[in-house]
């Protein structure tokens, strides 16, 4: 009577075996506590600068928006002035006194087309 033993080998084990010559990198540079502190401080400064840059840029947009608002107000004012001028030029009194109106005559007779 024969006996068969089945051994299960996981894929990771297989891979490990396949890369068994891989070695772990170990840096020769060792950072001390002072260097860590300096690095953290630098990171904070960089992040702070980024924040300040962004905040300043937003404020820059505010000035731009203010400039545009001011231009819009100016154009609106000009538009109002033109509308007033237009209304004055088309007012009845102006039209009546125009050279075209002065040359008009009252029709002697009016004929209607019967409905």
């Amino acid at each position: 009577m024969s006996q068969t033993n089945n051994y299960y080998v996981s894929r990771r084990q297989q891979n490990y075996s396949r890369n068994q010559n891989t070695t772990r990198f170990q840096s020769a540079v060792k950072l001390g506590p002072v260097a860590h502190t300096v690095l953290v401080a630098l990171m904070i400064i960089v992040l702070g600068l980024i924040y300040v840059t962004q905040a300043t840029r937003t404020t820059g947009y505010d000035y731009e928006a203010q400039k545009i608002d001011s231009q819009i107000a100016d154009y609106n004012e000009q538009k109002s002035e033109l509308e007033v001028e237009n209304a004055r030029l088309t007012a009845l009194e102006t039209v009546k006194n125009s050279s075209v109106a002065k040359e008009m005559t009252t029709p002697a007779n009016t004929q209607y087309v019967q409905e």
């Binding site: 937003t58 404020t59 505010d62 004012e77 509308e83 007012a91 009845l92 009194e93 209607y112």
Partner: protein, 584 residues
């Protein structure tokens, strides 16, 4: 062995002092930053956060020119120019400022403005008002020191005085007074917005901060009136000519569309310039007489009495009565102004010649035929007041409407004598707009429309949005057959004046001459002349109703001699303007 500070050594004392100072700092900072936190936050906000009102633009007012809206009242930004005399003196620039101001804004400077520049003890003096933007730009270009500008929005009236009393005006505080400006002030004013934001030193709003609020302003509504500027202009012209012709002092006209209640023109003379309202010395000029000056309407109201009698089935135009030129009511005798048409005459004749006795007779017939009984008085009150709107506000969209007085028959004064007078238009006070609105119902088939001066509005995109066609406020105030008879009777009455109307049209009307009460009694030397009528292509299509009143101090004016020519002038012009084709 660890180094230790020796007890009482100088280092230890220094350490203690440093500790104490540090503790003081910490406590002070705690006080400032924690305990006084809210106080300093509010101080900082006051300094940094700017609260600003975003003013709403006041709505514009349009009139119609045919079917299209045209601007009658607009807004314009003008500037008040002020100076700081101390700065001007310091820079020795008074001469230059004076020269520039005279050259650029000569018509707008205040009196003796050059003297204001030398006021050493003052830091603020206004030297010019209502300077336009172009003028302000020119002054700014001169780069004068010590000079500043304040923007002010003001109403502009390109048509000048046209329809002034219907429009009203806006005072220096931006509040509408009188007319449409007063009545619809809230709608026209809009709602101011609000801005709360952190600003820089130049007041430029910044987006930093978490408490920024920006609520945009809601601009006022742009209202389109039903007033047609061409008709309005013609009416004002005709009124001015009428006043001159009759040497009168004041006159009023209402022109209405009887089929909608829309007022097409409404004018009073004398009037004022709304852009210079502050120059008016007599506040009575601001009143729109057509809605706020009740008077005894006189014989125009005979059409009302006639309508009530026809509607109640007690008389027709051809029914007759015996005229003796006088009639007794209780202890009073009422006489006719026009005498001679005595004997058996028809009510048509009574209307044509405006004979008071005929209408007192009708009032009696509304009762028992002999007296103006309580039933007769109740019927007259019902028609005059309840159905045709005399003595009550019409609800027209204009400020200061007065309702007048019509005495109820339940009142002690509402007796037979009072109602006999009312039958020919005396003993009651009504406004022109009330009489005109009621008459519209009498000739349009019997439907009462609330008079309106509003036709629609102009939306944000500049489109004219018309209001829905007005519906009658009261249906069938008189029967259609009654309305037809009133039209015929007034047409016959008007036809007695030959050759005044254009041929082929159907025009009707009634004269009125009412006495004026002075110091509680009727004056012998003063009357108000009126004319009330309609016009159209034929009897079934009245297109307009015109009511004219004209009055002069110590002047006896007559309805046919003084008011009717104004009606005729306007009516004949209206036929052409409305392009009504003759059918008769």
């Amino acid at each position: 062995m660890k180094p230790e500070l020796l007890q009482g050594s100088r280092s230890r004392i220094l350490a203690s002092v440093v500790l104490v100072i540090a503790a003081v700092f910490v406590l002070r900072l705690f006080y400032l930053q924690v305990i006084q936190h809210n106080h300093y936050v509010s101080l900082a906000q006051q300094e940094q956060v700017k609260k600003e009102r975003l003013p709403a633009t006041r709505g514009e007012i349009y009139a119609l020119s045919g079917d299209s809206p045209v601007k009658l009242v607009l807004n314009e930004t003008v500037y008040t120019v002020f100076v700081d005399p101390a700065v001007i003196i310091e820079n020795d620039s008074a001469d230059k400022v004076e020269k520039v101001m005279k050259a650029v804004a000569g018509g707008n400077v205040v009196d003796d403005f050059d003297k204001l520049l030398d006021k050493e003890d003052s830091r603020y003096q206004i030297i010019a008002k209502r300077v336009t933007r172009t003028q302000a730009e020119k002054i700014k270009d001169e780069k004068l020191s010590g000079i500043g500008f304040t923007a002010v929005s003001q109403r502009v009236y390109p048509e000048g005085q046209l329809a002034a009393q219907t429009l009203g005006f806006v005072n220096a505080d931006g509040v509408g007074n009188y007319g449409l400006e007063g009545y619809m002030n809230d709608e026209l004013a809009g709602k101011d917005g609000r801005l709360e934001t952190v600003t820089d030193v130049s007041d430029v709003p910044l987006t930093i901060g978490d408490r920024n609020i920006r609520e945009p302003a809601e601009n006022g509504k742009n209202i389109v009136m039903s007033i047609d500027r061409n008709i309005q202009s013609k009416v004002e012209q005709a009124l001015a000519a009428g006043i001159q012709r009759s040497r009168a002092t004041d006159a009023s006209v209402v022109v209405m569309d009887p089929n909608t209640g829309r007022v097409m023109a409404m004018a009073n003379l004398p009037t004022y310039n709304p852009s210079e309202y502050y120059k008016v010395n007599d506040a009575a000029l601001f009143n729109n007489g057509t809605i706020s000056a009740p008077y005894e309407p006189g014989s125009d109201v005979k059409t009302y009495t006639m309508a009530a009698a026809i509607d109640k089935g007690v008389a027709t135009a051809n029914d007759t009565y015996y005229n003796t030129d006088s009639i007794k009511v209780d202890d009073r005798t009422i006489t006719n102004a026009t005498k001679g048409h005595t004997g058996v005459i028809s009510f048509q004749t009574a209307l044509t010649w405006s004979l008071n006795t005929g209408f007192v007779t009708l009032a009696e017939r509304l009762g028992n035929g002999k007296d103006i009984t309580k039933t007769a008085r109740d019927t007259m009150y019902e028609y005059f007041h309840d159905r045709l709107g005399l003595g009550q506000n019409t609800g027209i969209e204009l400020a200061n409407e007065q309702k007048g007085i019509i005495i109820s028959p339940d009142d002690a004064d509402g007796n037979a004598v009072r109602y006999s007078n009312m039958s020919f238009g005396q003993g009651l006070d009504a406004t022109l707009i009330q009489v005109t609105s009621g008459f519209c119902a009498l000739i349009n088939g019997g439907n009462y429309y609330k008079p309106t001066v509003i036709s629609g509005y102009v939306n944000g995109e500049g489109e004219y949005v018309q209001n829905a066609t007005p519906q009658p406020a009261k249906l069938g105030v008189v029967k259609e057959t009654t309305s037809q008879q009133i039209k015929e009777m007034t047409h016959v009455a008007r036809s007695s004046f030959r050759g005044i109307d254009k041929a082929g049209y159907y025009i009707g009307g009634k004269t009125g001459t009412s006495q004026v009460i002075k110091n509680g009694v009727y004056a012998d030397d003063e009357t108000i002349a009126t004319y009330l009528g309609y016009g159209g292509s034929d009897i079934d299509h009245p297109e307009y109703v015109i009511m004219v009143s004209i009055h002069g101090d110590h002047r006896i004016l007559g309805g046919s001699a003084d008011a009717m020519p104004i009606f005729t002038d306007i009516s004949n012009w209206m036929l052409d303007y409305l392009k009504i084709q003759p059918k008769g």
